[in-house]
């Protein structure tokens, strides 16, 4: 890890902290303060977007654990979210469990399903595993739409609104707190996970699986654990979507969803929690911004407004392609570049070494 100029850690505790310099801590405090103030100043429209970003951040962090940190490419994100959403919804509908418990139940169920579809990783690597998870996506989608007795098939599943102390929790304002707290908890959990033995094993498997197994990492178990951890968090995102919308439909969890989430972590930066947040925000805000642009143009240039869905799709694809070609490490690297620029200003050179986070 690169050290900041003039910062000397004299104890292990200070060296191991997540935020190691006063500036970093101040920035974090500022961010949290913003999160606290935001719902009081934001319009319902922005609150809704913020909630979507919060849910997407949780899902993207979950996917990042698997893809970015452990190097197991997964196209089954949509399927795992579906398991979380349907699991949470059905536990409430069929067993009458309170919503918090059924979301947790959905997470555990997703972790189980994710581990099951992680089993091919015993034999398969890289591309073959990606195709296996593609099959997982298609199979789960098929089961959800065809097991009508359980899931209602292609009909939407309507679930009761979540309540806490008598208040409806899925209003934009109330849900904001649920999502934000859970997103922060997920981020802190993940940041700490990768300071532990287990998390380091994930990274070792990604970087060199043979070397990892030589130094005593049980590669297969580690991969399965990565699938389980990742799916648990992804299931949480799925459950939250279910309760935020009050409704579960299979259209929300298709292969397209998987691709959206992969795009988030690519654009944000693989193997970075901050990147997952940046990516989730960009990929969520981009279509919204284009929609607004279209509304603005409705009168002056109706021809453009008509093409809006196509523009959205093209921009989405272009963003992925351009990031991969010009900044493969994503927004989190750009953020680091900006920080470095101001850090050494007025000099133009960069701080050596790269830092995760």
């Amino acid at each position: 890890m690169a050290l900041d100029c003039g910062v000397f850690h004299t104890t292990y505790e200070s060296d191991m902290r997540l935020r190691r310099t006063p500036v970093e801590r101040a920035r974090m405090a500022l961010f949290v303060a913003f999160l606290l103030v935001f719902p009081f100043i934001a319009s319902p429209y922005w609150l809704n977007l913020a909630n979507q970003i919060g849910i997407a951040t949780i899902g993207a962090i979950g996917l990042n654990i698997l893809v970015g940190y452990t190097g197991q490419v997964s196209l089954g994100q949509g399927a795992f979210m579906a398991v979380g959403a349907y699991g949470a919804g059905l536990l409430t509908l069929r067993l009458g469990l309170p919503w918090g418990v059924s979301i947790l139940g959905g997470c555990i169920l997703t972790a189980a399903v994710g581990t099951f579809f992680g089993l091919p990783s015993l034999r398969l690597k890289g591309l073959y595993l990606a195709i296996a998870t593609l099959a997982a996506q298609e199979i789960v989608e098929w089961v959800v739409t065809h097991w009508t007795a359980l899931t209602g098939g292609t009909e939407a599943l309507v679930i009761p609104a979540p309540r806490l102390f008598g208040a409806r929790m899925n209003s934009d304002f109330n849900f904001y707190w649920v999502v934000t707290v859970l997103a922060l908890l997920t981020a802190v959990f993940t940041a700490n996970l990768f300071r532990s033995r287990i998390g380091r094993a994930f990274v070792a498997v990604r970087d060199q699986d043979v070397a990892a197994s030589v130094i005593g990492v049980n590669v297969f178990r580690t991969k399965l654990l990565a699938f389980a951890t990742s799916s648990f968090i992804v299931g949480l995102a799925g459950g939250l979507i279910a309760y935020y919308r009050n409704i579960v439909t299979w259209e929300r969890f298709t292969l397209e969803t998987s691709i959206f989430y992969l795009a988030m972590i690519i654009v944000g930066g693989l193997g970075s929690i901050r990147g997952a947040f940046f990516g989730a925000a960009l990929i969520t805000l981009l279509p919204a911004a284009i929609t607004n642009l279209g509304r603005a143009l409705q009168d002056s240039a109706p021809a453009v407004a008509v093409q809006l869905p196509n523009i959205q799709q093209a921009v989405f694809g272009l963003v992925i392609i351009l990031f991969l070609i010009f900044e493969p490490e994503g927004l989190s690297k750009m953020w680091r570049n900006v920080k470095d620029y101001f850090h050494v200003w007025p000099f133009a050179y960069r701080r050596g070494g790269s830092r995760g986070g």
Partner: protein, 290 residues
């Protein structure tokens, strides 16, 4: 028996269209290790370009199809040059995502130009019914079989006899050695994409004739994965056999079992193959295990 024959012919012709889509996929994977998620969109372009030249421009269908193939080559070359070449040597996830992004852009372009409304495909293929024993099959489905097979034979000849074809095999075998023998890798990659685009365009024309001119054509892009995994990712023959098997399996399951199981059976096969024999029927056995 009658039903069986009917299903067999229709399954086989669908299978040959899958094979056409899969061959392009295999050629790209073989030479450059790129997994092309935009294969379905290349088919889509084939369908729409033919629709454009024959119906909208009113050209005779021979000229229209020829023009479609030429433009397809151009698209293939452009994709290779602009999108794939900067990413040579990047990790698998980048390769997957860049073609995913590409498919998104291509679909947007097609939708922007021609709109989402399904259209009728220009009727230049024979549509009369052909009697094979007790079964009745429409000729447009039947004709897909000889055309696909002819194209695949041409490809086989290309790989055995021509300079570029042999260069492609050399690169698939050992990139370093091929480089040191003076083979231009970018040129070979470009040829691979051109071939993929052309075979996909032919597949798109066949498919457009059967299902009509609509976005549904690109759904075949995902069907390619079971086909190539079953046949072996780097085997052209495997793509043909895999295509036939998956096509037949789909219609048999659809015809005899029903319940929408035909939609999912290719993926169940895919998972089974990956578990038991990941390199497929004819693929090279180079799976690395830990």
């Amino acid at each position: 028996m009658e039903v069986f024959l009917q299903l067999t012919v229709s399954g086989f012709s669908t299978g040959m269209i899958y094979a056409l889509a899969a061959v392009g996929f295999v050629v790209i994977y073989k030479s450059s290790d790129v997994i092309n998620f935009a294969q379905g969109e290349l088919l889509l372009f084939g369908t729409y370009l033919t629709f454009f030249t024959v119906v909208q421009l009113g050209l005779p269908w021979t000229v229209g199809v020829l023009l479609t193939l030429v433009v397809a080559i151009g698209i293939g070359l452009a994709i290779e040059r602009l999108v794939l070449r900067p990413l040579i040597g990047e990790p698998i996830i980048s390769m997957i995502m860049v073609t995913v992004g590409l498919s998104s852009v291509l679909r947007a372009i097609v939708n922007a130009i021609w709109g989402p409304r399904p259209r009728a495909f220009p009727p230049f293929m024979p549509t009369n019914e052909v009697h094979i024993g007790p079964a009745i099959v429409s000729a447009d489905r039947l004709i897909a079989i000889p055309i696909a097979l002819l194209l695949l034979v041409l490809l086989a000849v290309f790989f055995r006899r021509t300079r570029d074809g042999i260069a492609m095999r050399a690169i698939a075998d050992d990139q370093m050695a091929a480089l040191s023998m003076g083979i231009s890798i970018p040129r070979v990659f470009a040829v691979a994409w051109a071939i993929a685009a052309v075979t996909a365009a032919v597949g798109g024309i066949m498919l457009g004739n059967i299902v009509g001119v609509s976005g549904n054509v690109s759904a075949v892009g995902l069907r390619v994965f079971p086909v190539v995994i079953l046949g072996g990712l780097d085997s052209i023959g495997g793509a043909v056999v895999g295509g036939a098997i998956i096509g037949l399996l789909e219609v048999y399951v659809g015809g005899y079992v029903g319940a929408g199981l035909n939609l999912i059976i290719p993926y169940i096969v895919l998972v089974l193959v990956l578990m038991v024999r990941p390199y497929g029927l004819f693929g090279k056995e180079i799976i690395e295990r830990v």
